[in-house]
Amino acid sequence: SSHEHKLNFKKSKEACLNYIQDAMLQKQWKRAAEFLTFYVESLEKDYSREPIGPSEMIWRIGSEILCHHSHSSMKEFNCFMEQMKTLGVKRYLKVCLEHVFHLLCNGQIDEAYQSLSLAESWRFGEQTAVQDKEMKLIQAYRGLLDYYSWSKQKNILLEHGVDGCADLSVEQEMHSCFRKAAVNLKEIIKIPGVWDLFVKCYVDLLEFYGDHNEACQVLNEYAYNSKFPANPNAHVYLYQFLKRQGESKKSLISALKILHDIVPSHELMIDFNTMLQKSKKRKKRRLGLEVIFAALDYAGWKENVKAWSCLARQLKQIVISEKHLDWIKQEWNSRKDWWPAFHFSRYLAKRNWQENQSLSYEKALVAGILLGKDCKYFKYVSHQGCKAQVKRFRMLKKFVNKHNPVYLRISG
């Protein structure tokens, strides 16, 4: 005889959990809380064979409910978290971290700092070594909060600095925050990972105190160390730093080259193209053309006047010089099947003309060069422009008509 339907503890609690889950998914926090009260007694049972035990369930579910429930307060949340910390020593630091995140989200910076300091001083036999990663994170976040304090004090000093009555104690505190922050931030960014915010803050500190070498080294590590995951932001930070330091175009270009490879649609591609166009080296100019074409492959750039004007400028320059037409041919080859419909349809011609004359001007120039004077985009826009008696459109029409043979050579 089957006793599978027998009501037993395990099934009853599983059913209870299902009700909690359903209630949470439907954002019925009162109902979820109600069922949770019936679930908590599972803490008194042994679940050592299960992968996730009731203490973890209760921690996670309870946090969610307290986060969203309309009647719950920070005080209650804090009280709950303190209880959760005592529940599982293996999870102690994780719970501390989550608690800190929640405090930060609620603007309780000081409480978060205290919590972090407390957690940092926690020792529990071999658990301390096992939870090493969480400990590093805790130290890193404390470093971040130290940076934040430093930043506030720096601003105070800068404001009052003109008066000359710079408060010595504030300055000393600021330096002490710097030291504390620097130590912890430096540690965390050694570990392969994505530490954008920490890196930025650390570099900011280093730059302020004039340690540019260290900053450069940190940024290079972050961008080029293969152990770290590929991160476009790392290259952006490096580029911005180099720019601030007034480094040579050569180093700026090499910083952006990788960014182009990873994220061809990045907003810095305009700066990149601008630098490359002006270069004396042929290879760089060639790369510039590649970069700007690649950026315009992306829908997000369709209406970006600056991007189109970069492309237009470079194409115009090539056409006038009559050198390197093969560059245009190479780039256009893989695009001639889909760019006309993507960028140069009659519908877009109308829309661009109505919404943004400059955009339509630049695009018309590009279309005229790539597709010839008879393409619908160019025809529509130049006609409208001439009708409206805008001078540059008349110039545009003349230019394209004059260089129409070039189009024939490109498209052939």
């Binding site: 027998k6 037993n8 009853s12 109902r31 009260t37 007694e41 803490l43 008194e44 209650e76």
Partner: protein, 318 residues
């Protein structure tokens, strides 16, 4: 930890009675509460079925002899007689009667209901004719609501004992701390439950579903007449339904496999399953137990026909 199932308790009861060498229990006569005729009244009421069905249940009980004193009375230690499960028996009788009158093949009962509905339109007698369809809708709705409540109750069931148990002195403080934490958490989240203190149950009653004729919404079927589905033949009212289908052609050996038949929901019509589900909810047991009793009753009822292999209708659904 778990709640024992009905069958476990029942078997232990029999074992205990035999072990204690108890003598024959007091006779169960037709004026006893445990007699099928009496229990049928109770369950017909609770299932919101017409009182008139009681005539039919009594007829079935009489015909197959399950109202006899010797059949019903418990004699511990007597292994040869099949022990009677009174409530399940009564419920099964009702199910058989429903099958007799309505066939319950997912087809005929609805036709019959439409027919009764027609007759109700021209009904000038004052009392309504029973319509299966209306009954089904009303009862199903209530059953679903109560079932849902029951499921939630089960999920909310608290298992712990008043005083925490611990097995060694070392454990004591840990166990007590845990208990304290559980109590704290219960209080904390209890406050967030928004609650509704459950209103005191009005009277303790063994009826889980109750239907009142005072309700004007027509949801009580006790007083309805079966005339809508009966016909007159030779001055007697008989069922219009000429057919019957047996739940199983052959009974299993209960001593070997524990059941007389094996119930699978997919093998039977949905109306039949619904009726089993209704009584299984009321009795808090699995439908298969009721199904067993239904098979037993059917085999007694159609005994002659079965074993003489005369012409009979067996319609077994896939």
């Amino acid at each position: 930890q778990s709640w024992p199932v009905y069958e476990e308790v029942y078997n232990k009861m029999l074992e205990l009675a035999a072990f204690l060498d108890l003598p024959r229990f007091p006779d169960i006569t037709d004026s006893c509460f445990l007699h099928p005729d009496m229990l049928c009244i109770k369950y017909l009421m609770e299932a919101n079925l017409p009182d008139e069905l009681h005539n039919w249940t009594c007829r079935v009980v009489k015909k197959i002899g399950i109202g006899e004193v010797d059949f019903l009375t418990l004699v511990p230690g007597n292994k040869s007689t099949r022990k009677v499960k009174y409530d399940i028996l009564a419920a099964a009788v009702i199910v058989v009667v429903l099958k007799l009158l309505f066939l319950l093949d997912d087809h005929y009962e609805w036709l019959l209901s439409d027919f009764a509905e027609e007759r109700n339109k021209n009904n000038k007698e004052g009392g309504l004719y029973f319509e299966f369809k209306k009954w089904y809708e009303v009862v199903k709705r209530s059953l679903d609501v109560e079932q849902k409540k029951l499921d939630e109750e089960r999920a909310k069931y608290l298992w712990r004992c008043e005083k925490p148990l611990f097995y060694s002195v070392k454990n004591k403080s840990k166990v007590l701390k845990r208990r304290q934490m559980v109590v704290n958490l219960q209080n904390q989240f209890g406050k967030l439950s928004g609650s509704v203190q459950r209103a005191e149950k009005p009277n303790p009653s063994s009826f889980q579903l109750s239907w009142s004729e005072e309700n004007t919404d027509g949801s009580c079927f006790h007083g309805h007449s079966l005339k809508g589905i009966l016909q007159e033949k030779c001055g007697l009212l008989t069922a219009m339904n000429p057919d019957y289908w047996l739940c199983t052609v052959k009974l299993c050996n209960e001593k070997l496999c524990g059941h007389l038949a094996h119930y699978r929901e997919v093998d039977f019509p949905q109306s039949y399953h619904f009726v089993l589900r209704l009584f299984s909810f009321l009795l808090r047991i699995q439908p298969s137990y009721i199904h067993d009793e239904v098979c037993m009753i059917e085999h007694k009822l159609f005994n002659k026909k079965l074993y003489k292999k005369l012409k009979y209708n067996t319609v077994l659904r896939k």
